[in-house]
């Protein structure tokens, strides 16, 4: 999995953002899973809880290998299923440990009961998700519906689009989630196969640099006989809204923390992440592809090629789905004439029969004076590759929409409508 390490200094050439930033460190060729595992090792996690399901499993393989080799002092606990996995992480985090777990596809939804207790208990667990299509039938391909179906459970939820970003997100997410202003669990998502299984160049910083960025977890109310507390007694129906409001405040309180942490990361590691939303060639764009996750990698090349043909297209990639960066996106998106949301998920019977992201984008734009034409591209479902020519098709639809001020469809199904 990991190739020969190549020690390099600061890279002279400026790579495309899509290929990872130039920065000091050791270059490894890592899959998204490998990148996550190395970042978790450097985060000195205390407890990992595992259960196998393709495609996320590799991260657990690497962690168990690291534990066996003594590279990471880890309690590696094999769960009895994803539900148990999350329970283990819940317990470990409540007892003050830095805990991680992970899953894919049906595994993510099998654990559904436990997400809310973890976020409501304000346990900063991190979960590595490599997306997989939900059954039926069995399908290993990536689709974001698994992780997105947990979006209402109080977890932070974001996607990376390169193994490098997976690595960096792992560290950033822990620092954000463990911030005393936040204390929330995080879902660190990557597309199955596309990100999880294809090795790419990842710059790995030194342990000292990571240590200085990510201090050890100090959970204030950990289960400890020296400081007895009761976690999670029943409340009155009349108190429910108070607790819910504190959870909302915690989630909304992440914005300044994300801003701070990502900027600090950029400063320390020589990266240039936007805390919330990546804008690719958007400064003079009239219409944009809105996307989350791994397909942005191809999307950026497609935008380059369409730009070469004179199209005024750009790409907007949200790094977060929860919290949804409403105001940032409203500012960014409202200035365009047309927006096409690449869904990579499905919500059967949703408004306009689009996916989940279009609903969020539409709500975001509703408060804006300028309302761009909005359409959904149902693409990448079941793990289908989104190819360059399919992005070109989307570009054509958007160009047309920008000119006409409308689209024929509320949702275009890539694979049918572009034929």
């Amino acid at each position: 999995m990991a190739n020969e390490d190549v020690k390099v200094g600061r890279q002279a050439e400026e790579d495309k953002g899509a290929l990872g930033d130039s920065r000091p460190g050791t270059i490894k060729f890592l899959t998204g899973l490998g990148a996550a595992a190395h970042a978790l090792r450097m985060a000195d996690i205390d407890v990992a809880s595992s259960y196998p399901i393709r495609p996320y499993t590799g991260v657990m393989m690497m962690l168990s290998m690291m534990a066996a080799r003594g590279e990471l002092d880890l309690e590696f606990v094999h769960g009895e299923g994803e539900h148990g996995q999350l329970g283990i992480a819940h317990g470990a985090s409540s007892a003050g440990a830095r805990a991680m777990t992970g899953s894919s596809g049906v595994g993510v939804v099998y654990a559904m009961e436990v997400y809310s207790p973890i976020s409501g208990g304000r346990c900063p667990v991190q979960m590595v998700i490599a997306d997989r299509t939900l059954d039926p039938p069995g399908d290993f391909g990536s689709e974001h519906t698994d992780a997105l179906s947990t979006r209402d459970q109080g977890w932070m939820l974001g996607w990376a689009h390169t193994p490098q970003e997976v690595f960096d997100n792992t560290l950033m997410y822990y620092r954000i989630g463990e911030d005393p202003r936040v204390y929330l669990p995080q879902m660190n998502c990557q597309d199955g196969y596309f990100i999880s299984h294809i090795p790419q160049r990842v710059v790995v910083p030194t342990q000292e640099e990571v240590n200085s960025f990510l201090p050890p977890l100090e959970f204030p109310d950990a289960l400890d006989p020296l400081n007895p507390l009761g976690h999670g007694p029943q409340i009155f129906p009349g108190q429910g809204h108070v607790l819910e409001a504190t959870r909302v405040n915690a989630m909304m309180g992440t914005f300044p923390v994300i801003d701070e942490v990502v900027n600090d990361f950029n400063k320390r590691f020589g990266t240039s992440y936007d805390p919330f939303v990546e804008q690719y060639k958007c400064s003079d764009a009239e219409y944009v592809i809105f996307i989350s996750g791994g397909h942005a990698f191809t999307g950026k090349f497609a935008v380059d090629h369409m730009r070469e043909k004179g199209m005024k297209i750009g790409l907007v990639r949200t790094r977060w789905v929860r919290p949804w960066p409403t105001d940032y996106l409203a500012d960014i998106l409202s200035k365009f004439k047309a927006i096409g949301v690449v869904e990579t998920n499905n919500s059967f019977g949703a408004a306009r029969q689009c996916g989940i992201l279009t609903l969020e984008v539409a709500t975001t734009l509703y408060q804006c004076d300028n309302k761009p034409v909005l359409t959904a591209f149902m693409a990448g479902l079941g793990g289908e590759v989104i190819r360059l020519d399919e992005f070109y098709y989307m570009g054509d639809v958007l160009k047309d929409a920008a000119a006409k001020g409308s689209t024929e469809r509320t949702a275009y199904w890539i694979g049918f409508h572009n034929v």
Partner: protein
Amino acid sequence: MTTLLEEQVQAKVDLPLLANIHQAVELDEYYVMGHRTCAGCGPALSYRLACKAAGPNSIFLGPTGCMYVANTSYLCVPWAVPWMHTQITDAGAVVSGISAAYEARIRKGKYKGTFPNIYVFAGDGGSSDIGIQAASAMMYRDHDAIFICYDNECYSNTGIQTSAQTPYGAWTTFTPPGPKIPEAKKLFPKDFARGMIALHPAMQYAAAASISYPVDYMNKVRKAANIHGAALVHVHAICPKGWGLRANQVLLCGKLAVETGTFHLFEYENGEYTYQYQPKAFKPVTEYLKIQDRFAHLKPEHHQKIQEFINQGLKRCGIKIPVEAV
């Protein structure tokens, strides 16, 4: 991978066994007065005795059940030791996580205290029914923790519904008797403790106890706590509301359960079972059934069927004590 490091084992002090009731009474209370359990609640008594036996270096986990809902209504807890709610499904998993967290944090120098005794206090539903997967996994993984199943033979918090431990012939709100189903519950219950022992051959200690024999029960909790690894205590915790008893009949009912051979007091250590209650003869089960309203609808043939089930159980366990004629 999950065994304790040598130095932690040395740091952990074993809880001494109690010689008599006077020693038990002397122990501090860690489950204090001020909780919304029934007057005469058997599970509450089992909780109190377990906390008393456990002492201060303890963490208790309360999966959803009567002992969660009744004890913590509302926004207050009666435990003087750390306590945490878990889902009814995953107490075994959460306790594993806590145990693993302490293993790692102590090993890495992130926690300065000694390894705590971590107890799950799960109802029969949270143990043998919906919670069995996590319970089994915790014992299989041999985490240093104690799983206490307080068995009140029904889901009592939700208004008395059948669980996998509800006995044959018992009324519950999901197994009411009627002309078509005169015996109410038709299924025989699981044998949770022995099942767990059979399923986890590496388990070092398991015991079955009753609140009607408090010192015996407290010693079993202490023995379980002293084991380095997973241990199980199954305690018969009579539910006056669910079983149709007067509040002051709870301890009598627990005694009769043992004296009729309905519930066995045993310990499992080093691969061997020992039985604590060895009478000249067991009483007929009718004595146990007739004081409980949940069996009021049963006819003699049902009593006979239950007696046969009990006799078979005694035989299966190798107990060669006769039963008095009905």
